[in-house]
Amino acid sequence: MTRPDKHTVALLGNPNTGKSTLFTALTGTRQKVANFPGVTVEAKLGTLTLDDAEVTVIDLPGTYSLAARSPDERIATEALLGRIPGTPRPDGVLIVLDASSLERNLYLATQVLEFGLPAVVALTMVDVAKDRGITVDAHALSRQLGVPVVPVNAPEKQGLSDLRAELHRALHHPGQALAVPFGDEFDEAVTDLHDVVCDLSVKLGFKPARPEALRLLVDGAGPFYDECEQVGGQAFLDEFNKLRQRASGGRSLSMIEAQGRYGLIGRWVKEARKSEDDGRRTKTDRVDALLTHKVWGTLIFVALMLLVFQSIYSWAGPLMDGIELGIGWLGAQVVNAIPEEMETLRSLLADGVFGGVAGVLVFLPQILILFLFIAILEDLGYMSRAAFLMDRLMAPLGLSGRSFIPLLSAFACAIPGIMGTRVIEDRNTRLTTIFLAPFMSCSARLPVYTLFIAAFVPDDGVGPFNLQGLVLFAMYWVGVLFAIPTALVLKRGILKSKITPFLMELPSYKMPRPGAVARVLLERGGSFIKRAGTIIFAVSIIVWALAYFPRDSQVIEKHDAATQALNERHAAKVAMIAKSGGFTDDDPALVAAIADMEELAAVHEESVATAKDEIDDAIELEAALAERSEAFTAALLELKRRHGGAFEPAQEIHTSRAEHEEAVAGIENAKAGELLAGSFLGRAGHAIEPAVRPLGWDWRIGMAAIASFPAREVIIATLGTIFNLGGEQDEESEGLRGVLRNAKDEHGNPLFTLATALSVMVFFALCAQCAATLAVIRRETNSWKWPAASFVYMTTLAYIGALVTYQVASALGA
C-alpha cells in the first residue's frame, strides 16, 4: 500500500517571463481559479503528477518584488507562508527566471529563496536572450544559487521532464534559506525585529517568519505593519523605530536592501553569464521604433483602437441580437408547451427565466471580442506600448496609460471594460478605472436617448448642426464630464496610489499563441457567466416578481369579462355577415375564402413592413409601396374571381376579425398596464413619487426607472406596458413616441415636456441602472463594497443631475 504523496508548490516570477505558459504546460487543463479574500488579484491552482506524487501548483500573480505596499502585493508572501484560508501551504517553490534580463529577475528570486523552502528555478526566454547575444550557463547559475536551474521552453515543451524530475527531487529534500549579506547592523536589526514580532505571535494569530521581519523593517508600511501596530501599540512602534534607526545608519533602508541584493546578484551573474548583450539591434528594437514612433506609432494606435471600438460597438450587435432572438424563440417554445391556465409559470419562464438568461448571455459577444483583442495584444507585448503612448493623456487624471483601453471599451459596454482593467497592475489605479467605467455612455443608453430625443427634441437646425444630434452628443459627454472630477477626487483621496504606478517594463515582442488566447477567452467568458451571471439572473427574477405580483383578481376579471363580451359580439357579427351572404359560418367555401384572404393580407403586410424597413429614401419607398399596393389589388381581384360569392363576406369577416383582434389586444394591454400599476413595482413608483416630482417625473416614470435596475433599456418596454401599448416596444416605435407625447399627468397637462425628457436622459446617462455592471464590479473587486459605493454615488449624481436639468430647463421654458 502506498499513500498518495501530496505536495504544494508556489510558482513565482516577474511579469512577462512566460510563467503562465509554463504553468499551463505543467498542469494542462486541470486548473481552477482561487480568489483571495480582500484582494483584487487571483491565483490559479493546477495539479501536476510526479511519479507517485500529486502536486498542487499555485500560480501567483507576477511581481517584481515581495515588498508589500498593498494587500494585492502582500498576497505572494501570505501564500508562501500558507496563511491564505483554503489554499494549502507550499512545501516547495518554482521560480521562473527570464534569461534575457537575469539581474532584475534574480531580485525577486533572492527574496523568495530567503524563505528557505525547497526550490527549483526554471530558466525561460533563452532564445530571446540568444537573439541579443546573451548566453547563460545554467549549471554555473545553479552552483551560485544553490538550487537546481533548468532551461525550459514551455511553448515547445522542452526541458519540462527535467524540470519535473528536479521538482520531484527537491520536494523530498530540505530547503536552505538564502542569507543575503546586507551588513551586520542591518542583519542584526532584522533578527531583533523578528524577535519583537514573534513576541506578538499570539495576538497576531500566526508566527511571523524572518523574511517578513525584513520586509517590515524596510517597507515600514503595508498590511503586516498595520497588523503589528494594531496589536503591539506604542510599545511596538517605539521598538520598531529604534531598530529602523539602527539598521539604516543614516542611509535609506531600501537602498541597503537593493544594494545588498543586486551586489550578490552581480557576483552570481558574473559567474553564470558567458556572453553579454552585444547591443545589436533586435527584432523588438526594430518593431518598437515603428510602433512607438511619433507619427506611425500614433497612427497605428488610433487605427487599432478604432478597430477595437468598432468591433465591440457594432460587430457584436448581430451576435447579441442572435442570442436574444434564439433565447426568445427557445422561451416561446417552452412557454407554448405549458397550458394557458398556468399563467404565472408562463410569465416566470418567459420574462423571468429566459429573459434573465438572455440578459446574461447577451454580454458574451462584447466580452469575448474585447478579450480577443486584449489577449492578442497582451501576448504580443503591445498593451504596454499602448499604455506608453497614452499615459500622458491619462496622467492628469491620476490614471495610467493602461486605463485607456478599458475606458474606451466602456463606451460600448461597461462590462468588458471593467473586466479589461485586469491589465492595470496598480491596485488603486485599477479600482479608480473600474469606478469610472460605468460613467462612459454605453450602447444600452442609446435606445433611451433615441426614444426621448425623437419624441421630444425638435428636429431643428442649430447653425450647421441638428438639435437632435447635438443633444445626443451632449449626452455622451455628460458621463465623461462627471467622470473627470470623480477620478481626481478618488485618486487624491481614498485611492491615492502610494507609489507612482508608471514604472513599467516594456517586454520583448512575441508572437501570440492561439492556445493561450483561446484559454483567456474561455476563462473570461466562463468566469463572467459563473460569477456575474448568477447575480444578474437572480436580479432578473426578483424584478420580474416585483412587476408581476400581487395580481389583483378584480382587474383580471374586469378585463377578461370585457374580452369575453367582445368575443361574443364578434362571433355574432361573423354569423350575421355569413348569413347575409347566404352562407352558414362553417360553410367550407366561406372558410376557404377567409383562409386565402388572411394569407394574402399577411403576405402583403409583411412585404410592406420589409419595404419600410429596407428602403430609406422617401421617394423610392413611396414607389415601392404603390407597387405593392397595386399587386395587392390585383391579388384581391384574383381571389374574387376564384371564390365568387364567398369573396365579399370573406373580406368583410376578415376586416371585422382584424378589428376584433386589435380591440382584444387593446384590452390585454390595458390589463397588463393596470396590473403593472398595481404591482409591487407600481406601488414603489407611487411611494417614490414625492422624491421624483422635482425631476419632473410622475410615479409612472419613477416606476419605469426602478424597473430598469437590471438594465437601462428595460425602461422602454416598461413605459410601453404602463402606457398600455404592451411590452414589445422598442426605441423606434412610432406608437410609443406618440403615446409619450400625448401622455397627461393627473391635471391633464402633458406629462412629458422637453425638460422632463432631458431630465430622464441625464438621469440615465449618470445612473448605475445596470445589474450586470454591479455584478461584474463585485466579481472584479472581490467585495460588495465597491458595487454598493458605485450604485449610491452614481444614483446620487444622476438624481442631482436630473434635478438641475429639469429645474433649469423648465425655468428656461423648455
Partner: protein
C-alpha cells in the same frame, strides 16, 4: 545636478543616486536603477512623456517626473 529626465533620446549615463518618497524610491531601486548602473535613453512617447530607457538589459518606461528623482552622470 543632472537627472535622468534631462537626458535627450540616445544618451547614456550612469546612475548616481535616487531621491524620492520612500515607496517610489523602493520601486525605482527594485527595478534596477541603483547607483553605478548604466542606463540609456531610448525614446520619448509621442506626447513627450513618458520615456523609455534600457537598464540591466531590459526596457523600462517611466514618467519624466519619476526620472527627475534619479540623479545621473552622463557618459
Amino acid at each position: 545636478m543632472t537627472t535622468l529626465a534631462d537626458l535627450p533620446a540616445g544618451a547614456s549615463a550612469t546612475v548616481r543616486g535616487v531621491t524620492a518618497e520612500p515607496s517610489l524610491e523602493q520601486r525605482i531601486l527594485e527595478m534596477g536603477l541603483l547607483p553605478g548602473v548604466q542606463v540609456k535613453v531610448l525614446r520619448f512617447a509621442p506626447l513627450g512623456d513618458p520615456m523609455e530607457i534600457r537598464v540591466m538589459g531590459y526596457s523600462l518606461s517611466l514618467r519624466r517626473s519619476e526620472a527627475a528623482c534619479i540623479e545621473v552622470e552622463a557618459v
